[in-house]
C-alpha cells in the first residue's frame, strides 16, 4: 500500500493529537452538542479520541487531495468507528442534527491550527483546509445516511409487522382458508395480501379460499382489479377463490363501474361463501338431531 503524502493535517494529528482533541471537545461544548447530561467528559473524550485516532491512521494511507469516497475499502475502519459512535450516542437519545454538528465541530479548531502552521504558504493552507473540509463533510454525511438507513429499517419492520397483523389468513376447515380484508386496499397492501394468501395455500394445501371484503371501506375500480387479480393468481396455483361480503351497494357500484368479475365466484356473505366452499371440498353441514320442540 502506498503511503499518503505528509500533510499539515496528518502532521497535526500525529504531533498535536491531544491539542486537536481538546479543541474539538471545546467546540462541541461551545456549540451545545456535547451532551454532558448523557455522557461524562471522560466517556466523551474516549469516544472522540478513538475516532480521531482511526482518522489519523487513515490519513497515513489515503491521499485526501484526491476525491474522497468513504464507501471504499480504504475507509472501512473509519466507517465502522463512525457507525459505532453514532450508535452509542443515539441509543442514549442524541438527535440526528446533534450528531452531524458533533462531527462538523472538528472543522473550526483544525482550520485554526492549520492557519497557524501554514501562515506562510496561503496556497497550501487553502488547499489543505478545503480537502479537510470535504472529508469532514463526507463523515457528517455518512452519519446522516446511517441514521436514515436505520430509520428506514425500523419503518419497514413495523410496516411488515402491521401488514401481518392486518391480513391474517385463517384456516376455516380442512382445505378451506379465509382472509378477512379490513380498511383500505391500496396496491402495496393488495400485493402483500396476495403473497400472504398464496403462501398459505401452499402451506395448508388449500383448495378453496374465501376473500371476505365485508370490512373493506371503499370498492372502486382499482380495488376491484386487485380482487380479480388475486382470484386469478389463486386459480393459477390450482385453488379456487370465492369473494364474499359483496353488499347490495357494492354490487351496484361494481356494475356502474363496468367491473366484470368473469368466472370468479362471489357471495353476499361469508356464510354463503362457506356453504359453497364446503360443497366444493365435499363436506356438508347438517344438524345431528333436532332437540327443539
Amino acid at each position: 500500500m502506498t503511503a499518503a503524502p505528509t500533510t499539515e493535517v496528518s502532521r497535526l494529528l500525529s504531533e498535536d493529537f491531544d491539542g486537536v482533541l481538546d479543541a474539538w471537545f471545546a467546540t462541541q461544548k461551545r456549540d451545545g452538542v456535547r451532551r454532558p447530561d448523557l455522557f461524562s467528559d471522560r466517556e466523551s473524550r474516549r469516544q472522540l479520541s478513538e475516532l480521531l485516532r482511526t482518522f489519523s491512521e487513515a490519513l497515513g494511507r489515503i491521499d485526501i487531495s484526491e476525491p474522497v469516497d468513504i464507501d471504499t475499502e480504504a475507509w472501512s475502519e473509519l466507517r465502522m468507528a463512525l457507525s459505532e459512535i453514532t450508535l452509542v450516542r443515539t441509543e442514549r437519545g442524541v438527535a440526528p442534527w446533534e450528531m452531524t454538528a458533533f462531527m462538523l465541530a472538528l472543522k473550526q479548531p483544525v482550520f485554526e491550527k492549520l492557519s497557524e502552521g501554514l501562515a506562510n504558504t496561503p496556497e497550501r493552507l487553502l488547499a489543505e483546509a478545503s480537502d479537510f473540509g470535504r472529508v469532514v463533510d463526507a463523515f457528517a454525511m455518512h452519519i446522516n445516511e446511517h441514521f436514515i438507513a436505520e430509520r428506514d429499517e425500523i419503518i419497514e419492520r413495523q410496516r411488515a409487522e402491521m401488514m401481518e397483523l392486518s391480513t391474517p389468513v385463517v384456516q376455516l376447515w380442512e382445505r378451506v382458508l379465509t382472509i378477512p380484508l379490513i380498511g383500505t386496499l391500496d396496491s402495496m397492501r393488495a400485493q402483500e395480501v396476495m403473497e400472504n394468501l398464496l403462501n398459505s395455500i401452499v402451506e395448508h394445501s388449500a383448495e378453496v379460499v374465501i376473500v371476505d371484503i365485508t370490512g373493506v371501506r371503499v370498492v372502486d375500480t382499482q380495488v376491484a382489479q386487485h380482487l380479480l387479480r388475486t382470484a386469478a393468481a389463486v386459480r393459477l396455483m390450482g385453488a379456487e377463490a370465492i369473494i364474499s361480503g359483496i353488499s347490495p351497494k357494492i354490487a351496484q357500484t361494481m356494475v356502474e363501474l363496468g367491473v366484470d368479475v368473469g368466472e370468479v365466484t362471489t357471495r353476499p356473505s361469508i356464510r354463503a361463501a362457506l356453504d359453497e366452499a364446503f360443497r366444493r371440498v365435499g363436506f356438508r353441514i347438517s344438524r345431528v338431531e333436532d332437540t327443539r320442540v
Binding site: 396476495m194 403473497e195 398464496l198 395455500i201 401452499v202 387479480r229 386469478a232 393468481a233 390450482g238 368466472e263
Partner: protein, 120 residues
C-alpha cells in the same frame, strides 16, 4: 427424450416434470414431443409439473397455454400443477392468466380430478 423435462406415462396419463432454466427451443421441442405422445399412447390426461420453475415468462406462459389447447384438440385434458406463489403473482401482473388452462395444487390433486372424470 426432451432436454426440458422428464415424462412418465401412467394409466393413459402423461406426467411431465419441467426442469428449471430451460431454453425456448427446449420447450418448443417438449410441446412437439408431448403432442406426438398424446396421440401415440392414446393419453386422456397430461399433468405438467412446473414446481421447479423459478420464473415463467411470456414465452413459456404462451407455450403452456398452447399445450392445454393442443391436448384438448387431441382429446386429452391438461393440468398445470405446482406453480410457485411468486410465479403466479408475476404471471397475473404480466396479464397472463392462462384462462384456458386447468390448474391444480399438485400432481396428486390433478390425478384425483382426472380420476373423478374417468380420465385416469
Amino acid at each position: 427424450m426432451s432436454e426440458a423435462a422428464s415424462v412418465y406415462s401412467v394409466d393413459k396419463v402423461l406426467l411431465v416434470a419441467i426442469r428449471d432454466n430451460i431454453t425456448d427451443t427446449d420447450i418448443i421441442n417438449l410441446q412437439e414431443d408431448l403432442s406426438e405422445r398424446i396421440v401415440n399412447e392414446a393419453a386422456r390426461g397430461v399433468v405438467i409439473d412446473i414446481a421447479a420453475l423459478e420464473i415463467v415468462d411470456t414465452f413459456v406462459g404462451r407455450i403452456l397455454a398452447q399445450l392445454s389447447s393442443i391436448s384438448r384438440l387431441l382429446a386429452a385434458e391438461t393440468y398445470i400443477v405446482g406453480m410457485r406463489p411468486a410465479v403466479a403473482m408475476t404471471l397475473v401482473e404480466l396479464g397472463m392468466d392462462l384462462p384456458g388452462s386447468k390448474t391444480a395444487l399438485s400432481l396428486s390433486h390433478a390425478l384425483r380430478a382426472l380420476k373423478a372424470k374417468g380420465l385416469a
